[in-house]
């Protein structure tokens, strides 16, 4: 059976522009005969009908294209071309031969460079074919940037809240001093890194009298003043903890000399023993302190050191309050 060839389609330039605003039509010699309206906006001024395609464009794919026939891949694979001059975008598209070998029709697009092209050439919706999904893509890019920005802000806020919560979890609300949880963390870290340190256990004397006679507001005020004294009399690297009621613990890293520790403790007691004025009333308290240092132990544990500092503290109390005792001084002298 003999097949009758189907008649070819013909379109005028306006119709072609409506369907493919990025087209480029070439005659059989490679001369440009038609440029789509959007492509005209993008190409350098003066590029238009009459110029030779190969003078203007470099064909990147397929490779080694010399003739017009070679420009049209047999299986309709995509082609990519770029302008020889200037920093123009790379175009991607399809090239098909016109009927009766009358030339080639290229339909181009921006590929992934579309965002940059829209910005540089001020393209609008009407520059894209109605079938083109570029608008949907731009829309998605827009949503993506909004959500990313929103996520970034939410993350920053949550991070702030987390570090606040972490700080809250480690401090005593009344005095702003660190709390027991913070003490445990610090002791574990010091013991783990074998950093020498001193542990001071401080208990207020006569605090109950202030609380009973002048009320809880006076008691709270006294505790806050004691906190200030403890912070003032220690270094920034020291840890000051309120472990409960009127009990405080100080951790002093890299400080194990007995005379120095005694001096610091005595200074703290002297400060705390000065009357504290609350609403015109003088509150007079004092403090007893027990100290131990990490070098007393082969393998220090937080629990053992705290128990020993506690024992030294009660030795101070028994000795008449307002005193300092070092744990090692309680041990029988070695022969």
């Amino acid at each position: 059976m003999k097949q009758t060839p189907k008649p070819g389609l013909t379109l005028d330039h306006g119709a072609l522009d409506g369907l493919m605003p990025m087209h480029l039509a070439l005659d059989s010699t490679g001369q440009i005969v038609s440029v789509g309206a959007t492509l005209r906006k993008v190409l350098p001024h003066g590029v238009g009908p009459g110029l030779n395609f190969f003078d203007l464009f470099q064909v990147r794919r397929p490779g080694r294209v010399q003739t017009l026939e070679q420009l049209c891949p047999p299986q309709g694979q995509k082609i990519s071309v770029m302008l020889r001059l200037g920093e123009q975008p790379m175009f991607r598209g399809a090239a098909v031969p016109l009927a009766d070998a009358k030339g080639v029709l290229l339909n181009l697009s921006f590929g992934a460079g579309v965002l940059e092209a829209v910005r540089r050439f001020h393209l609008t919706e009407s520059d894209f074919a109605p079938t083109d999904l570029t608008m949907e893509m731009l829309y998605l890019v827009e949503v993506k940037s909004i959500l990313t920005e929103d996520l970034r802000r939410t993350n920053a806020r949550l991070e702030g809240e987390t570090s606040q919560a972490r700080a809250d979890a480690l401090t005593d609300p009344l005095t702003g001093l660190q709390n027991r949880r913070s003490l445990e963390q610090t002791l574990d870290k010091l013991i783990e890194t074998r950093m020498p340190f001193a542990l001071m256990h401080l208990d207020l004397d006569f605090f109950k009298i202030v609380n009973d006679n002048l009320g809880h507001a006076a008691g709270d005020f006294v505790l806050q003043q004691v906190a200030k004294i403890l912070l003032a009399e220690t270094r920034d690297s020291d840890l000051v903890v309120r472990v409960g009621g009127d009990e405080f613990v100080l951790v002093l890293p890299a400080l194990v000399s007995s005379p120095k520790l005694r001096a610091i403790a005595q200074r703290i007691i002297n400060q705390i023993s000065r009357p504290i004025l609350f609403e015109g009333q003088a509150c007079t308290i004092s403090a007893s302190i027990g100290i131990t240092v990490s070098k007393n132990y082969q393998l220090a544990t937080a629990a053992e050191m705290q128990a020993d500092a506690d024992m030294a503290l009660y030795a101070s109390k028994r000795a008449g309050r307002g005193r300092v005792r070092l744990f090692q001084s309680l041990l029988p002298k070695q022969a």
């Binding site: 092209a117 910005r119 609008t124 919706e125 949907e136 731009l138 949503v143 993506k144 940037s145 939410t154």
Partner: protein, 197 residues
Amino acid sequence: MHGLVNRALGYFTRDTYGEAAWGAVLWHAKLADFNFDNLSNQKPGVTDQLVRAISEVLDRPRESLLEDMGNYLVSHPNCQPLRRLLRFGGAGFIDFLFSLDELPDRTRLALPDFHLPDFHLYEIGDDRFTLTVDGRLCGIGHLLVGLLRALADDYGALATIEHEGRVAAGESVLITVHEHGFAKGQKFDLTPEGATG
């Protein structure tokens, strides 16, 4: 509704009436501990609860409140990204109106769990349209009236937009466009300032 809608109600109330007003609304709606950061689908009643609480706390009828919110979503400086998204609908106001049919699909393309109400635009005469919207959120027609009025301004079109009341499927809005290029309108580029590919 989607968490974004509840968040938008929060932004609207805070930007228009202040932080304290939003606090009062949350208290009134018994939503003081509600997590607005979680954007995935939230309890269905929350949006309606919030709208009712805003209306009661600020003593404003629901209709005019939602209309203000529609206007806010397009014209407040804090809502520029949303205005831009809507402007992607079309080059002119009429194009935009036709794009409303596609808006729920476009939105789902970006946020698969965000189901906008369904819109249907009917051309009932020369430059006269009826827009119907399903009635999942009572009063949404009023929100659309505020939003469309602000967008017509944004496009520089002269249009009258009125709520027509409730219809079987939901609510209906009547739009008459008198002049397309009445005023210059606001500038709109497809890519934001400084964005690159």
